[in-house]
Amino acid sequence: MSQRLATGGRLIDRSQPRSFTFNGKTLQGYAGDTLASALLGADQMLVGRSFKYHRPRGVVASGAEEPNALMNMGEGELFEPNQRATTTELFEGLIARSQNHWPSLDYDIGALNQLAAPFFSAGFYYKTFIHPRAAWKHLFEPFIRKSAGLGQAPKGADGDIYEHYYAHVDVLVIGGGIAGLRAAHAAASAGARVLVIEQSATWGGRAPVDDDFASEINALVAELAAMDDVQMRLRLMGAGVYDHGFVTGYERLRDHAPKPGAPRHRLWKIRAQQVVSCTGAIERPLSFAGNDRPGVMLASAMRDYVVNHAVAPGQRTVLVTNNDDGYRTVLCLLDHGLEVPLVIDARRNPEGTLAAKARARGVTIRDGYAAAGVRGTKRVTGIEICPIEGSGGAVDTVECDAVAMSGGWSPVVHFYSHCGGKLLWDEAGAFFYPDAAKPPLNQSGAGFVRCGGAANGALQGAEAAQCGGQAGAEAARALGLTAPVPSGPAPEPQAEAPLMPVWVMPLNADYHRRSHTWLDFQNDVKLSDVQLAAREGYESVEHTKRYTTLGMATDQGKLSNINGLAVLSDALDASIPQVGTTTFRPPYTPISLGSIAGEARGDTFQPLRRTPMHDWHEANGVHWEPVGHWRRPYAYPRSGETVEQAVHREVKNTREALGLLDASTLGKILVTGPDAGKFLDMLYTNMMSSLKPGRCRYGLMCNENGFLMDDGVVARLDENSFLVHTTSGGAEHIHAHMEDWLQCEWWDWQVHTVNLTEEYAQIAVVGPHARKLLEKLGGMDFSAENLPFMGWAEGQIGGFDTRVFRISFSGELSFEVAVPAAQGAAFWDRLVKEGADLGLMPYGTEALHILRAEKGFIMIGDETDGTVIPQDLGLHWAISKKKTDYLGKRAQERPHMTDPARWKLVGLETISGAVLPDGAYATAPGYNANDQRNTQGRVTSTYYSPTLERGIAMGLVLNGPDRMGEVLNFPGTNGQIYRARIVDPVFYDKEGAKQNV
């Protein structure tokens, strides 16, 4: 049984008990425990069920590599699935439930899957469930989905909040073990600005458990803390390394002490010139039958629990090893008064110091032996042994309640690999380590990541410490700083006997054993699965990984990758480096999606742009429409009125009396400089350079492919300056488009552009009484003579500084008045007040659309969709014949663009007066070569016109302008066919009498 020892426990505080529940049962631990250590301390060996076979599983590791001990944690809006018990700090009231079983952890029906295991060989689902065809969707897939998945799905919104944080440093050290601390110290001493981050809650990493570095660690931490340019952070994990020295860090602020209202996680966005990864190494399991039984644990994890938490995973522990390091666990267990009845060492005559010490303390070592099998189901009861060369016939069985396994160590090279660093294979230690000659490269082509300590393959404590210091000094030197060779106390290294790579235990294990030997615990990938994959031709590591799901679990192969790779290369009779490794992808361990989203949620999901009159709209019953980041009034329904009724009222009132539109979102770009005219001539299809100051001109903008991209009114302010109005949605990208041309192509033209969109509030005063209202406010001469259609003027209106443009998008008499943004609300208020007796009503975007459609004005995004050229819309008049060039001109001369059979703009009127469905197509006789109905046109805008009291539409129709009066069929998606006549697109006031008054 596992239990708490009476004394000791480096990290726990026995004066601070913590109670928590596991599967509803209340248990006790201490401050400083992890959930895993507390569970083990309470003799909870069985902690979960595996993915596929629902095998009983126990804690196997003590850190981020844990594949088994995953919990449903918390409740309600604080619930979270798949929490690793080994990295979850215990707090009072913690609620954990084990996953993936029914009805209970102890009695799980799903475990019946084990009986069918022989049929569930690697890739079995690719080979079956093929017939009958419908069965996959209706039967097999639902079944597989239900039995797959680990934790429960959270329900509802997240009760926690998250934040982002930015840091810029010279040197980022990932990992706060002895190597990392030395690296940080070396870099900081050389004058670098250093950030050192550690994923766990304590400094020192493995050293305090494995070596005697305690005093040096304390001293280093204190010294670093006192340095001005050093930042130190615990519970902050390096998550991913990206191009250009960008690194993400994942800080768990509140997981160990939940507090609603305070951020739970903080995502760090770090820009580091140099990254030193001192991320240590992870011990590998050994592959023997039954290595997944609760009670079988990594040897290093076992001593972690004993030393750090005073928790003994077993009373009688057998060590299975292929290297010297495992003996540390033996000595540690003995030191804590625990029994070690046997060591099974794959090597013959292991002669290292550690083995000798164990032997001297009376431990029996069976050298040249292997674990042949593990007894027990929900916990270990014994271990079978056989000669290492055997096939598994046990020669002996030893009773025990725990098994420690030590298969050698793999450096954590993730941060070297994320951004393209290459790895080398170390034959002696059987691990991949960073190839110093092929680091990830920064923006200037120099390496920016290096590894130190165990992460660099320096596995011995003393060696690791030194290597860390060196890496720190090298990072500083890479920044041009002078860094001396760091020195530091180093204990005598132990004389070690070499490791013996053992990838299958025993070496000739029979099929039964190979099919009960786990490589990937969480995903239930067995040794036999990888061998089968290789036999079936899935020879690349990536194929094997994907075919068997090896390394694809939540631990991302931290325990299984090298073991699996070795089995694969064995099966292929190739060397391990030849077979290669799979790519390491960020993040290092899973990070919450909440932390990635950060503060950007709900109201702050994206910036909200408000016009100066936003509050007035809000106070006056507005119905909003999101337009990009803007909110625009769609309509202003009055009480008892539907939105649609409001729109119709607004249209009529604008036509008959007076409307007010908030047009502030309209893009306003100032284009200025001696070459401004020339520049605009290139951007627009029409001539802008000939425009006179004081005048406006409507213009069309096309992209290089000739397609319409924007339209709007350009006003010439003076000889060198133009104010370009764009569509509301176009302001940013048109400005970027201008800059693109100016910076990349016409960099020698003397033109500046400034986006002034938010500098001005713009209000359209529209309708027969528009002039009357402005005259009432006074200050300028608004007569047609002084301010004719398409003219503009600057001056005061009612005491406000304004610029007035006489332009119209409604066909009515219309003045668009721009005032400085800060005056917008006051000016609007004034207009509303003075306009009351003239029948003034504000109108929204939908009324705007109808007004323009009644007049046959096109709308970018409605009549255009990225495939339409001005010629399609009958806008030839806006295309200059005189200019030798403009953007899109050459494109518009291509054969398809000049094809007479293009679809062209027309008006459409249903015979019945009904409104045509939006986006409907007009059918033509027959079917095309792909058996699709032929078409001859489509609806681009369609509305009910309150003015004409019938449906009106615009559309693009094959040879449309030549087919006036013809009737087309538009099938709706409701089964109805709409018949509509081709008419002139200008439905209202064809002569333009109203706007010109």
Partner: protein, 415 residues
């Protein structure tokens, strides 16, 4: 080829799975083939398969620089739908979708095509109108798709938040016959079937040059030596620009990173695929339980097969807003591919300026769904030397003539 079945599995289980054959052979290249296909992604393999199956051409080699299926085919988020806007697109994607329905049976390999349905959310008026147009177009194209109300969306996707303060869901375009498939299995199933027809799939063999004489292709230079051929098909997605350069012409496309990510696996909570183009994100749940997430392309050109973090952030933000419960899930893994994006977001299946050399590329962010249809159509083009109805509109000359097939019209991202 020994057939896969439940019976075969049972039989093999009893003899310790010793009787399974190799799914495909790994031969050394021969001196000459009738057709060499460069790129053993889904499109290259499907082209080979249909050359054999539809046209009886089996003296074919598929040459792959890495491992088969290791390009975008093995990196994509596997959304399959055919409700595209323009006629030529709808035709080829619908052909592909319908072939997916029987692919497991055709290949005797379970590719796990799962017609669970795909919703494209409309979150602005503009989008509503765009999808209504698509719905009208699809009805005439014979593509089964339907506009659905917010209430129907909620019924299909209980975890969705319809009333986000910024972009409330106004409805959606629903294709019930769309869904997902297992990407690796598609590549593997084709590879196995091609190998069984006697075709050679040559992995770890990079094409480094193209040989020609008198304006016609004669073979390829590879890292495994020269291979002669009568016809050459280049099907290399993000590497198309490089291959075209070897053949002496240029392509109107750019290669950009496209990223995806998965969460840790959880029990089933979402049965359909949801795409939210206004906020730039989409999500489905794999059979294993992972939430599979993707978004738009990165803003720079590149061949690194990795992208920048801020793009991942943007995507996740969009989806947390759409599905608030995922905030408490964790990102397990993120990765990227190199996608080949044309100016009109539509593919190129075409003859090239080099005689007997054909190209299939430009599938960009959304070509997984097209694999079987593209293979079918490309095989016809290669076998006959002239485009058939499915490829007629997708030729290279459309760029010169301005005859674009613009799909960005309907949605910003064409997954």
């Amino acid at each position: 080829m020994r057939r896969y079945s439940a019976f075969a599995i049972a039989k093999e289980a009893l003899r310790h799975n010793t009787g399974w054959q190799k799914a495909w052979r790994s031969p050394a290249p021969r001196k000459k083939y009738d057709v060499v296909i460069v790129g053993a992604g889904g499109h290259g393999l499907a082209t080979a398969y249909h050359l054999g199956k539809n046209h009886g051409i089996t003296n074919v080699a598929v040459v792959e620089k890495g491992w088969l299926g290791g390009g975008n085919t093995g990196r994509n988020t596997t959304i399959i739908r055919s409700n595209y806007l323009q006629d030529p697109s709808a035709a080829i994607y619908e052909k592909a979708r319908s072939l997916y329905e029987t692919m497991s049976q055709d290949l005797n390999y379970n590719v796990m095509f799962s017609p669970r349905g795909v919703i494209m959310l409309a979150q602005t008026h503009h989008e509503v109108r765009g999808y209504q147009r698509t719905a009208h177009a699809n009805a005439l194209q014979g593509v089964d798709t339907r506009w659905i109300s917010p209430a129907e969306v909620k019924k299909l996707v209980p975890i969705i938040n319809l009333d986000g303060p910024r972009y409330p869901v106004l409805g959606g375009l629903w294709q019930a016959r769309g869904g997902t498939a297992r990407h690796d299995a598609v590549a593997w199933g084709y590879a196995r079937a091609c190998s069984a027809m006697g075709m050679d799939i040559i992995q770890q063999c990079e094409v480094t040059g193209i040989d020609s004489a008198e304006g016609k292709v004669t073979g390829v230079q590879t890292t495994k030596g020269q291979i002669a051929c009568d016809k050459l098909a280049m099907v290399v997605a993000g590497n198309s620009g490089l291959l075209a350069e070897m053949a002496g012409f240029r392509l109107p496309l750019e290669t950009v990173p496209l990223q995806a990510l998965v969460s840790e696996p959880i029990k089933p909570c979402m049965d359909v695929v949801v795409m939210a183009n206004t906020v730039h994100g989409y999500m489905s749940q794999s059979d294993k339980g992972e939430m599979v997430i993707g978004g738009g392309t990165d803003g720079h050109n590149g061949y690194t097969q990795r992208g920048s973090f801020h793009h991942v952030e943007e995507t996740v933000r969009a989806l947390v807003e759409t599905f608030p419960m995922i905030s408490r899930l964790k990102m397990l893994r993120q990765w990227g591919g190199n996608v080949d994006v044309t100016g009109d977001r539509s593919p190129i299946l075409s003859k090239t300026p080099l005689g007997n050399c054909f190209i299939n590329c430009g599938w960009g962010t959304g070509g997984f769904k097209a694999i079987p249809g593209s293979g079918w159509a490309m095989a016809e083009l290669v076998a006959k030397g002239e485009p058939g109805p499915l490829t007629a509109e997708f030729g290279l000359n459309r760029f010169r003539e301005g005859r674009f097939i613009d799909e960005s019209v309907a949605a910003g991202v064409a997954h």
